[in-house]
């Protein structure tokens, strides 16, 4: 909402600087976006009167003008403008003057342009005549008449007067950010009401008393019928005759321009002016084209065709509200007038409409037709039906004041159900309790009254009746806010809540923190990726068609395919991130993501799917292998207290290398998968190196995490170390050898550790040599050589029998 401060002063006194005005308005609840200075950056530009125009001897398109700029001698200016005539008043940039620009046909220069005298085709020019946009006025608000060529000023001026002064150009324009609960502030009077309450200055309403011609009544020419009262709460019309379409006076044009609207002609400008003033969209019909003197507010027929003011043919729906005359539609209610009843240059009699249309209906029609206008966006937000009458009166009064027509007496007013504000009981004690202050009921009444509310206090209870424009004030809490903002948030005390609460993180949150801590310590960076992904990622990781992860949750309105489904696995995102890093030559990467995946079942909360915590860990680069990642994962599991995890060879996980992939099982339950990414998958992502990845079901880790720790006494007796090297068939797993060793180590085998795996001469092809370090120890005695040898021999026998292991000479 653009609010020119000069215009606002019409309704209430503003005695402070613009800066203070803005600061205090912000603190009373009118936040603002920007403050612009209209007419800024103009220096040394004066009003000139054109005395003569002669042809340029050497240029067809140029003329030599002599301008009266208030000096003894005229100023000679050469110009290419074609729209000037002798006697016109024009803005003249004298030598050395400064304007914001942009100059005609040139790009805008930051800081503006300084005009210097010069010669045009050999003829001296002592400055420049300028257009509206050269004076820094935005193209979209330049009056239609002045869009092209030099700005021809209306009215009489003293030549040589500074243009800024002559046209009263300077004004501060504040762009207020109006929140959706305050549509009443989308108007000059609404903002003036706020300013009046903020600064304690009285509010002045505009003059709406029409003199009116007594002989003829509006009702002589027009009748109104509302067929859909639920969609139109009120319709007020008044007829004006002897209309003379002309340019608006400069003061009116300027106000529209500073408020961001383009002046068009007096009648259109007045309706726009009143819309900005009251927030009530207005419309004017050429009464010649309102057939049968009838206005009927009704819905359109489904598929009905209608041409709006902008010349576009539109197909209406059965719920589109249409203003009809006796024969046809003449305006699309609350959105745009019809081309068939538009004001034209020869219009002599008009019907001024002020109506209140249902916001939801306007929104839906406007959306269906793809036609959003200043009027429709205002109706959508909700308008007080009581404004219609005042606004119509105001339009008519302005027509009178401008001498643009004769207003007929009386209005036609169809108002089936009068809207009255409901009084609300407000307890002073409650207001104080919520805000932590102690104002008296009468102090609160003072605040309410400053906002044009009626109050009546009885003890603690204040009965408050807001003005009908304040449709946001419905219950006590709404009034608490009024007191808070007018009293001043900055004046509220600063305290801390009484009473203690125990802060806690859940076990799961703690485990997440712990997992992140372990992984950071192991050198993995944390990544964060989108929760919505492309379904193509599942193909890229070669997920089976019948996998649970293929049951996708799809968005109805995604931004694009890349973000169209909720992720069921973190793997594709991880590979994308690794690929991006690989492409950017990050040679070595270790990363993890801990986040939600979305399972398409309804086992979650009512209609909601299950959200499952997942953990994905990955790495690539020199020195990384299946075993480095496995080592890291084992450290992580140990850190989280997840014990007894076994790794089993897994050839069916299609994202992984079939010979380099393991399933992680704990007590028979699968908790994850770890392996080298399948070369086809890596290739698909454009990763030209081996990638290792581990996906863990974090919820399963949470269930398994056991943080009980107990002390074991340090050993008192020496250990006996025995190394063994075994030759076994290639397919015999290290895990199964270890298993046999442990099972046969009786109660004296303290630990077993693999220290070498060797293939090649002298070991036969298809076999490998595996070497372990075994440590024997008893808690209560020094072991004898004999004791150890017996058990150790048993271990070797068992290995031979169960695994076909042959002991190698060490």
């Amino acid at each position: 909402m653009l609010v020119p401060v000069q215009w606002l002063k019409e309704y209430t006194d503003i005695k402070v600087s613009t800066e203070e005005f803005c600061d205090r308005m912000i603190m009373s609840g009118s936040n603002l976006e920007t403050v612009e200075e209209f007419g800024a950056g103009i220096q040394g530009v004066v009003v000139g009167k054109i005395v003569s125009i002669e042809k340029h001897p050497d240029a067809d398109k140029l003329v030599i003008t002599q301008i009266d700029t208030g000096k003894e001698e005229t100023t000679q200016i050469v110009t290419g403008a074609a729209n000037i005539s002798v006697g016109d008043y024009v803005p003249v940039c004298l030598h050395g003057s400064h304007i914001p620009g942009p100059l005609h046909g040139q790009p805008k220069q930051p800081g503006g342009v300084t005009i210097k005298r010069g010669k045009l085709r050999g003829v001296a020019s002592d400055g420049m005549l300028c257009s509206c946009s050269e004076l820094g006025i935005e193209d979209k608000v330049v009056p239609v008449k002045h869009k092209d060529g030099i700005w021809i000023l209306e009215g009489e001026y003293t030549p040589g007067t500074d243009i800024v002064e002559a046209l009263n150009l300077r004004d501060s324009v504040v762009d207020f950010e109006i929140t959706p609960n305050r549509p009443d502030c989308l108007s000059m009077i609404g903002m003036a009401r706020e300013a009046s309450a903020t600064f304690g200055t009285p509010l002045r309403y505009p003059d709406i008393c029409c003199k009116a011609c007594a002989e003829e009544k509006s009702s002589d020419y027009i009748s109104v019928e509302i067929k859909k009262p639920q969609l139109c709460r009120r319709y007020v019309g008044r007829v004006v005759k002897d209309v003379k379409i002309a340019q608006s006076p400069w003061w009116l044009q300027k106000r529209l321009m500073t408020a961001g609207m383009r002046p068009i002609n007096n009648i259109v400008d007045i309706t726009n002016y009143v819309m900005l003033e009251y927030g009530q969209p207005m419309h004017a019909f050429d009464i010649r084209n309102v057939k049968g003197g009838k206005i009927i507010v009704d819905t359109a027929a489904e598929g009905e065709s209608f041409v709006t003011l902008d010349g576009t043919q539109r197909t209406l729906h059965s719920d589109s509200l249409l203003i009809k005359d006796a024969e046809r539609g003449v305006a699309l209610a609350g959105i745009m007038g019809g081309l068939n009843s538009e004001i034209e240059d020869d219009t002599t009699m008009i019907l001024v409409e002020g109506a209140n249309f249902n916001g939801d209906n306007v929104r839906s029609t406007s959306k269906k037709l793809g036609l959003r206008t200043e009027a429709s966006s205002r109706f959508e937000k909700g308008i007080d039906p009581n404004l219609t009458e005042q606004a119509v009166e105001r339009v008519c009064r302005l027509i009178e004041l401008l001498g643009a027509g004769t207003v007929l007496s009386g209005t036609v007013d169809c108002y089936p159900e009068v809207y009255r504000a409901q009084p609300v009981y407000v307890r002073a004690s409650r207001v104080n309790q919520v805000l932590g202050i102690s104002l008296s009921a009468s102090e609160m009444e003072g605040i309410f009254r400053s906002l044009e509310m009626q109050t009546e206090a009885a003890g603690d209870v204040i009965t408050v009746t807001p003005p009908t424009v304040r449709q946001d004030l419905l219950e006590e809490v709404d009034f608490v806010e009024e007191i808070a903002r007018m009293y001043g948030y900055d004046r509220l005390p600063v305290t801390l809540p009484a009473g203690n609460t125990q802060a806690a993180k859940t076990q799961k949150q703690l485990l997440r923190d712990m997992a992140k801590g372990e992984l950071l310590g192991l050198g993995f960076n944390e990544i964060q990726t989108y929760s919505f992904v492309s379904p193509k990622g599942l193909d890229a990781i070669r997920m089976k068609e019948d996998a649970e992860g293929r049951k996708l949750i799809r968005l109805l309105n995604p931004l694009g395919e890349d973000t169209s489904v909720m992720r069921t696995t973190l793997l594709p995102n991880m590979l994308e991130v690794l690929a991006r890093n690989y492409t950017r030559n990050n040679a070595k990467v270790s990363a993890f993501e801990l986040g939600n995946t979305f399972i398409n079942n309804h086992s979650g909360d009512g209609p909601l799917p299950e959200e499952r915590d997942a953990l994905c860990i990955a790495c690539y680069g020199e020195g990384e292998s299946f075993y480095t990642l496995k080592g890291a994962v084992c450290q992580l599991l140990a850190g989280l207290g997840v014990k007894e995890v076994c790794f089993f060879p897994e050839a069916e996980e299609r994202a992984y290398h079939p010979g380099r992939c393991a399933k992680l099982l704990r007590q028979g339950e699968e908790i994850g998968v770890l392996g080298e990414i399948h070369p086809d998958v890596a290739e698909k992502y454009g990763i030209g190196t081996r990638v290792y990845c581990c996906q863990l079901n974090f919820d399963a880790l949470y269930a398994a995490a056991d943080h009980t720790k107990s002390y074991r006494p340090l050993p008192k007796y020496p250990a006996v170390a025995r190394d063994i090297a075994l030759t076994v068939k290639e397919e015999v797993l290290v895990a199964s050898l270890e298993d046999v060793i442990r099972k046969n180590g009786k109660d004296i085998l303290e630990s077993v550790a693999l220290f070498d795996v060797y293939r090649g001469k002298p070991i036969k092809a298809g076999e490998k040599s595996v070497a372990f370090n075994l440590t024997y120890r008893a808690a209560d005695r020094t072991l004898t050589d004999e004791e150890v040898s017996t058990v150790h021999g048993g271990v070797i026998n068992a290995l031979a029998q169960q695994c076909g292991a042959v002991l190698r000479e060490m």
């Binding site: 309790q433 809490v477 608490v480 806010e481 900055d490 919505f532 309105n557 990467v589 990363a591 979305f598």
Partner: protein, 340 residues
Amino acid sequence: MQNQLKTILEEAKEQLKNAVSLTEAEELRVKLLGKKGKMTEILRSMGSLSPEDRKQMGMIANATRAEIEGLLSERMNALKEMQKNARLQAETIDVTEPGVSRKLGTKHPISITIDQVCQVFTSMGFSVVEGPEIETVFYNFDALNAPKNHPSRDMSDTFYITDDVLLRTQTSPVQVRTLMKQKPPIKVIAPGRCFRCDTPDATHSPMFHQIEGLVVGENITMADLKGTLDAFAKQLFGPEAKTKFRPHHFPFTEPSAEMDVSCFKCGGTGCNVCKGSGWIEILGCGMVHPHVLQVGGVDTEKYTGFAFGMGVERVAMLKYGIDDIRLLYENDMRFIEQFR
């Protein structure tokens, strides 16, 4: 013989002085005191002396031997010390060469920010709660007092899965879930992911993070809101940080406010971070609307409360001077590792 001993002693002194290595000193020891050494020879030859002379000469010889031994060990110690010093000298390294570090991982800046904010609030007695990212229209809008025709409900603003299920656009639904689950006093914060239909650019992301806060109890006032959030700002941005509360509008709080923090870069004098205003908008807040408390089954006469919500990306970007939100989701390791 006495002269002989004297000569040996003098010679030994001279030779020891000239011995510059432990090896030379050892050779000298052998030459003087070894089995075939000069002293040994003299001591052996004492057998031919008379018992009286032997006794006297023995005393002198032993004294000489002891003196030589003392000199020898003194010299050898000195040489050892010299040798050690020479070794230490030779072992000098360039301490300005870079250290060999163990690689540690780096937390994502979003997580760092969430952790910092959560830590501040948990220290003030807030518990951390969570809610689903896929939400119902009820929790995300209806229960939060959002008008039925509010534009934020449109498909152009909110991602829908069905007519009733959506990707939450804010963490505020966690407020409602908490109110339904817990009895006052309540003091929680809820960090999490949110989604809105914004095409990614330098300042927009269709997915982002928020941290929601909710306090409900007896006699909770707007002054408590100010005090709590002011304390938070001072803990997060430093004790110099000042706060300013401006009236605003949110459907689920009334009165509502936006909180600005004095610019942590310029301290309030105006710079490019605060766009010259000296203030930075950090969060939205307000007193929980009675309609929201009622949905949660809270007695609005007995209890009042306040709520607040902040954008994590915004705070992280301001704190670290990140100028493009998309960097946060590209996960370039060179970016992430800057936040260790």
